[in-house]
Symmetry: C2
Amino acid sequence: MAEITIKDVASLAGVSAATASRVLSGNPATSPGARARVAAAITELDYRPNAQARALRSTRSDSIGLLVSDVRNPFFADLAHTVEQAALSEGYVTLLGNANERKEQQDRYLDTLISRRVDGIIVAPLGDGSGSIASLIEREIPTVFVDRTVDGIDVPSVTTDSEAGIRQAVEHLSSVGHTRIGYISGPQATSTGRERFAAFTSAVADTGLSQDPELVYFGDFQAASGSAGVHALLDLDEPPTALLAADSLMAVGALAILHKRGLRIGTDIAMIAFDDVEWFALLNPALSVISHSVEDMGRLAVEMLLQVIAGGTPESVVLPSELIIRASSSSPISPSAGLRPRKN
Amino acid sequence: MAEITIKDVASLAGVSAATASRVLSGNPATSPGARARVAAAITELDYRPNAQARALRSTRSDSIGLLVSDVRNPFFADLAHTVEQAALSEGYVTLLGNANERKEQQDRYLDTLISRRVDGIIVAPLGDGSGSIASLIEREIPTVFVDRTVDGIDVPSVTTDSEAGIRQAVEHLSSVGHTRIGYISGPQATSTGRERFAAFTSAVADTGLSQDPELVYFGDFQAASGSAGVHALLDLDEPPTALLAADSLMAVGALAILHKRGLRIGTDIAMIAFDDVEWFALLNPALSVISHSVEDMGRLAVEMLLQVIAGGTPESVVLPSELIIRASSSSPISPSAGLRPRKN
DNA sequence: CTGAAAGCGCTTACAG
DNA sequence: CTGAAAGCGCTTACAG
């Protein structure tokens, strides 16, 4: 397939490549006649400028990278959607990468995005500041962190204040009589994993609930670890009467096992998940959640990234989180007998 | 930020840019000494080749585009995940675009992907073959359709045979006593929307159920239209006793309204959704679904695209679909009184 | 095995 | 307002 270049357009329009280029970029130093003939030639040839060549010369690509930690996580799917729409309305196209909660994949995508010379990168980072994250900073590539941050790496970020929501959840569970809350934690390699765990720990201490370390299971934010967590927690000698999962995917994994083991949610065991997902409200009983706004997060991240690209240094933003109480956690604690798996 | 180029690497290693380039690309015509010194220089400088410049010369970018119709649809999120993993293992990075079920956005992303000279494109197409889809074909850009096809556009595709699953669903609903099945259809601008609608129509006719045209509501595969569909169908003089939704997102919208109107799923009204989503099994009652393999679809699409890029012309593949009966549809039909919204 | 040179498709001072 | 020329960072025949 013979690629159509700006030269083809120029010669069909009877002008030089320079003039054709000026028309393409909306440079005012062009005559109406030239504009018209070039426009006609472009349509006639169905010409698409080679973005690679353009970026090579002009050192901007009108694209940004978005690296999420797991596309299958509804929270990040929603984030991808808002970021993409916001970027598009500002004339940027979004290249989406998926780290799949693995550091090697994060590094690989970051390298690719750097190589493609995106104008900026929004990333929900994983791990410490080593590897490609460090390269980002060294090269002064405009970067904004979303949802998560990395200790010691100073870039603007938009995150959620997990503390408030988790504290509300713990206090709420305590108020309906629970004393042993099982916590399915995110990985300590992520800032959200650490923050939420710390919030849980201090809330439990402040509320006077059991601080038994066995009540904490460390998962990886993906579904299977939520399932494993439920098994581990229910098999304790003194199992918890309530469960708090640090993200929606682990909650899904947890719910599956709870069902399989014949436990009635909201009756035999209370359950709350971090992250609101539309259909959590559709479960029966409806699932209580700690909610935060993914729309605000995505929109602000794009806004901030554009500021960084423009040379600014926007302030980081911390968004609120809030407990939404639904049926899965609102009943008073039931007799502990309920905790033994029923024989169906 | 001073970009580090291959010249910097070359001079630090004491070789020419040509030799540095050869080492970079693994060209065997290099001496061990040169290889070692270039490798050292690369590490020393943290050099990342400019993918734009490379692609400009070599006319391949080692990237593919994946254009899905809606990232927030779990089916497409899963598809994005499998495609990306499969592509990565073949050395390709995936640029993900999201048409958001809008033709203008599809065209915009397709233009961008063409401009960036991706080596090939996997697309779940929308609309007819006009606009950028036509450009794809004219330019002979390697393309594979997934999930959907476009009439009159002859490119290899991997799709699902919706017919079998829908027929099973209709027959199953009939066998438990339903005669009026409400169908929440996908948009007729998509091949899956048309095929599933046709399958429903013919299955209903063959099974001797009501062919009342009012029992069909045309949605757009997004959640809000599923909600609107339920309202419309339940407000009929003779409302259906069972509902079949043509995708998971419309099913979610439908379930929300069913709950809001106080209808007990599986008892007052039966429900089946096309597309299996992990948590559909967690609903109470668990949701019956028509299942097809997103993993196979993604893996095959990448495989086929690589064949097209290599100059081959792979055969299109049609994957099976199958009904999975769960509690939401397995009870015999209840007295029609159940259909009136309860007063809670 | 290696280097000098040309060229991929653009854009942008520089003259005019 | 327009064109000729240089150059963005690479790769690849072509000689040697």
